[in-house]
């Protein structure tokens, strides 16, 4: 399962390297699951419960990374607003600003709760904003294996990484290959072909891939062959795998659970329009979150996010 896979990755990396430590709110009690057992295994100098001061402790993680530590910080995307200064002014900018002197091996676990009645203050999916700002690697795993492998790569990477973990995937099952040598390392910037197809390319982001795969299965019954691609990381982005797929299918739908304006979906569509224009046989389409805050009521919230049905319609739209 997704959360367990993350937990495994963190355990393995903390075991491998003493410089890795884990920090966040109530992580010793592991209220969200991924830090389960860490405190018992690694103790108070490696697993830190912080006060409710995200700007302060994320800044402290940044500072510690400058002098040799490799922090993993747990938070929710929605709590990152209070820490934006340290995330942007320091974490993202420091290395460049200081001409490369700084090394910032900081991994941030940014959990995204949405579509679960958490309302506007707890449902952010802010990865497009971090894509707009240079200096941070943006990771969006869908499957347990990727969550584990990308997490391990992030911890070893010398640049700032934010893993946007889709809270809806917490219960997603999936095999994580055995790795007695602890080497399930998935490289950044390499997309994954989730399903081959010939009629339309669907690029899915995070939880979007689950709906995309369901839609592909349903569409197959209608004789429509959908190729599903998971970029896995948005910075760096594997644009080749997307452009190559569109070259084959001639059609593109992007499924993105973040707000649709200036979204990752907008970006991917703009790239394909600029660089794969002559391959497109129909207008590309976006299935992204409605441009509205997340309402609490379950009468409205589910209307906002990508669904199998919306994807099916979009794919069919490209085939008209």
């Amino acid at each position: 399962m997704y959360v367990e896979a993350l937990n495994e990755a963190i355990f393995e990396e903390m075991k491998r390297d003493d410089a890795v430590y884990y920090m966040g709110e109530d992580v010793r009690a592991s209220i969200y699951g991924a830090s389960k057992g860490l405190f018992e295994a690694y103790g108070e100098n490696r697993v830190l419960d912080t006060p409710l001061s995200e700007n302060g402790f994320i800044g402290a993680a940044v500072g510690s990374s400058l002098v040799g530590m490799r922090p993993i910080v747990e938070t929710l995307t929605s709590f990152m607003w209070v820490a934006m200064d340290q995330l942007i002014s320091q974490l993202a900018k420091m290395k460049y600003m200081f001409g490369g002197q700084a090394s910032l091996p900081v991994t941030i676990r940014a959990v995204m709760y949405y579509n679960g009645a958490a309302a506007a203050h707890h449902s952010d999916r802010s990865y497009p904003m971090f894509m707009n700002m240079p200096g941070i690697k943006v990771i969006v795993p869908t499957f347990p294996e990727d969550a584990k492998g990308l997490m391990k790569t992030a911890v070893r990477d010398n640049d700032p990484c934010i893993i946007f973990e889709d809270g809806n995937l917490g219960g997603i099952k999936g095999d994580v290959p055995d790795n007695k040598d602890n080497e399930l390392l998935i490289p950044f910037g390499k997309g994954k072909l989730l399903r081959e197809g010939t009629d339309c390319t669907v690029v899915g982001i995070a939880g979007g891939n689950i709906h995309a795969l369901n839609a592909a299965e349903t569409l197959e019954k209608d004789g429509i062959s959908v190729e599903v691609i998971d970029p896995r990381t948005l910075v760096p982005l594997d644009k080749e795998i997307i452009l190559n797929s569109v070259e084959k299918t001639g059609r593109l739908v992007v499924v993105d659970p973040a707000h649709k304006v200036c979204s990752a979906a907008s970006e991917i569509i703009s790239i394909v329009s600029e660089q794969g224009f002559w391959n497109l046989q129909a207008p590309p389409a976006k299935v992204a979150a409605e441009q509205v805050h997340i309402p609490f009521t379950q009468a409205l919230e589910p209307l906002i996010f990508p669904t199998e049905e919306k994807i099916i319609n979009a794919v069919k739209g490209t085939l008209e």
């Binding site: 209220i31 709590f79 209307l303």
Partner: protein, 320 residues
Amino acid sequence: MLARMIRIRLFESALIECQKSGEIVGSLHTYIGEEAVAVGSCVALNDDDYIAGNHRSHGHPIAKGGDINKAMAEIFGKRDGYCKGKGGSMHLADFSIGILGESGIVASSVPVATGAALAAKLKNEDFISLVYFGDGASNQGACHESMNLAALWKLPVIFVCENNQFAVTTSYKDSVSVDHISDRASAYGMPGVLVDGQDALAMYEATTVAVERARSGEGPTLIEGLTYRYEDHSLGLASVRRDQSYRSDEEVEKWRKRDPIEVLKSNMIKQEIITQKEFDQIEEKEKISVEKAVDFARKSPFPAPEELYDDLFTDPIEFA
């Protein structure tokens, strides 16, 4: 005072039942055990004074005299709720009676309430504002900035820290570097008062002093009400494990024994302000009104899909 405290207790208890039965979704942060803090302070305010609160959010509006039908309907995600179902449990608000809203991001309403007090000063009107935040929240930079601003400009605002001794699983002793949050008032040049938060009258008295100070232009006060929450940090969010190891059963029992409703009741009975019979009558009346509220909430319709984009802007904007 007593009626409102009982109302909060029964309201929360009804919610717990409705959550168990699956009628309401999302997480609930109940105020049971802390009733004296909100009620004792709110009754010291005028109707046209303002309050703002946080995620532990049902006690404040009820203490200010809010309509429990609307509050209940909101938590049910219904159209007749305070926020038409868009806010939910963590975002109750009633601008018509000075309830400027609860905030899911901790400490985030502290600057907002400070701003309402700024308006009083700029308009030269004599309303004041009061804000509730937790012991955990006190460590946010927003508190520092607001307290400095309020003290500097002598704004009529009262900062009420509800020290229920924990932020989720973290003791305030592990998050606040001094003995008491009220000790920090001196760093801003304002009075800081530590109050028995189980004693509604003590809260009332401390707040009354602060209200006078605020209204006469002398500036803000920081009140720390020492209290306790009986339940888990939040109920319902499946991913937040009910780990109670951070506090002992004995400790919980000890606090339950000094229940704020009992404290006030026995005080009033001793002073012959009410009789046990009158108390029972009040309780009975509140019970009926809470039952009615549940009924009201059940019968209220859900918002319709067309309402999704309403209330985002004053006039709707079309997004591509």
